[in-house]
């Protein structure tokens, strides 16, 4: 499904070159949940954004390939890449409140993908959006459609984010710490919702987090990143019972002593 090999990304912060990724290699198989665990600065978010070249202006991919169903995304020119974004690869981001445009109604922002990718007439797109909102367990979908992001709670906004990403039935969903900004109870609901949708939609999930307890709950395979490199990659169970790399050991020890749920 997705194969990243030897990816190097450098940031040019007005003169100083920062090496964000130094040779990242990882793969996501069909219908699998791969969790990329790592602390801040390990490069996990940069990897996620690099997949569909959503990196900020200052970033430059210096070497490496990203194959998605056989196509090297780094070499795709803009229009073809845009067809992949949103249609085959979708994203959910961390801050639910700030990743939705504050001046448009929530429903409009979801409908946008229908109108763009599937060219549905507005009436059909409207009905489709309502169905999607119900799918992500938003009860009063008709009212929520006409609300603005600032009127909804964090959890509700994240559900809208998930609905938006699933609009065109993507094959791969990349979630970058979607529940870190939420309180514990909402976090559990969102994680359960994601797993449920994964089985019904059948997409594969690339889940970025720094919280090992989430990794343990939902991951088929885990890969640990440290200082811009993948230092360990294995099945969820093997990572926890026999970690190899010193950083993975450190992570697990810290998680067991003071990690929360």
């Amino acid at each position: 499904m997705l194969k990243i090999s030897n990816l190097h990304v450098h940031f040019d912060l007005d003169g100083t070159i920062v090496k964000a990724l130094c040779g990242v290699t990882l793969g996501v198989n069909l219908k699998e949940t791969l969790v990329v665990a790592g602390e801040s600065g390990s490069g996990k978010t940069v990897t996620a954004l690099a997949v569909t070249r959503l990196l900020p202006a200052a970033a430059r991919v210096t070497s490496g390939e990203i194959y998605f169903n056989g196509k090297n995304l780094l070499l795709l020119e803009e229009d073809a890449l845009r067809k992949v974004r949103g249609k085959e690869i979708a994203y959910i981001f961390q801050e639910p409140g700030s990743f939705l445009n504050p001046v448009y109604m929530v429903g409009d922002q979801i409908m946008e993908s229908f109108l763009l990718h599937q060219g549905l007439p507005r009436v059909e797109a409207f009905a489709e959006t309502l169905r999607l909102l119900e799918l992500v367990k938003i009860k009063d979908s008709r009212r929520v459609f006409f609300n603005y992001p600032h009127q909804l709670s964090g959890g509700m906004n994240q559900r809208v984010g998930i609905a938006m990403s699933l609009a065109c039935r993507p094959k791969l969903l990349i979630a970058d710490e979607p529940t870190t900004a939420l309180d514990v109870t909402t976090e559990t609901q969102i994680l359960d919702l994601l797993c449920e949708l994964k089985s019904s939609f059948g997409f594969s999930l690339l889940f970025i987090t720094h919280n090992l307890s989430i990794a343990r709950r939902i991951a088929d395979r885990i890969c640990v990143m440290y200082k811009g490199q993948v230092v360990e990659e294995a099945d969820a169970e093997r990572i926890f019972c026999s970690p190899q790399h010193f950083h993975t050991k450190e992570l697990i020890h810290a998680y067991q002593t003071i990690g929360t749920q």
Binding site: E39, D183, V184, H247, L251, Y255, T260
Partner: protein
Amino acid sequence: MIVRAVHISKYFSIEGGVFKRETGLVRALEDVSFSVEEFSTLGIVGESGSGKTTLAKILVQLMAPTKGVVEFDGSKISNFRKDMQIVFQNPYASLDPKMRIKDTLYEPLLIHRLAMPKQLRDKARELLDAVGINEDALGRFPAEFSGGQRQRICIARALATQPKCIILDEPISSLDLTIQLKLLDLLLRLKERFKLTYLFISHNLNVIKYMADSVLVLQGGRIVEQGDMRAIFAHPSHPYTESLLRSARR
């Protein structure tokens, strides 16, 4: 007993309507009383909105309580500004961006006249050494350090006035787990070395278990349970404490 809170309550007024009349009252703290033994660590645990930070600010006299009073044992704490210090949660906001690290450390030393101008640099170097930051940090600005390093510098600043008691208001919860653990070990070492009393505030019960000798559980501004850490962790009496323990252990 080194410091004691007697029936502390704190209410905030809510302004509403067109002319900003006081239309409501938020009861942040309601009749909180407890005392802190010297050389011990009292853990205060509670979820967000339970009034932990308000209590911290009242104890260190940054905020006046609506009711009740904070008492100090005169023999141990003569000048609370010097003997009582606080470390905040957000390392990125608790250091003055325009000040070099050396000036941030010199300030408490000069205010309390703990070092002659000539000795300032050595004293600052000692403080940084105690928290594991090397000397060349003195000339640099906070922007050049990571969250963990900045929090160590804040701890150094708190140690500058040779305090007796330090209030730690969620000092590590915005950092990565591995760095959190390293900082907790640092705090334990410093406590032994400088004979300190800690008031450790956190929402994470496992951290409290790692650090505290006695525990105080806050819910909605009220104390629901108080006592020795092991006893409470073994068999909590209040249902709220039980639910906290269950979610921490899963």
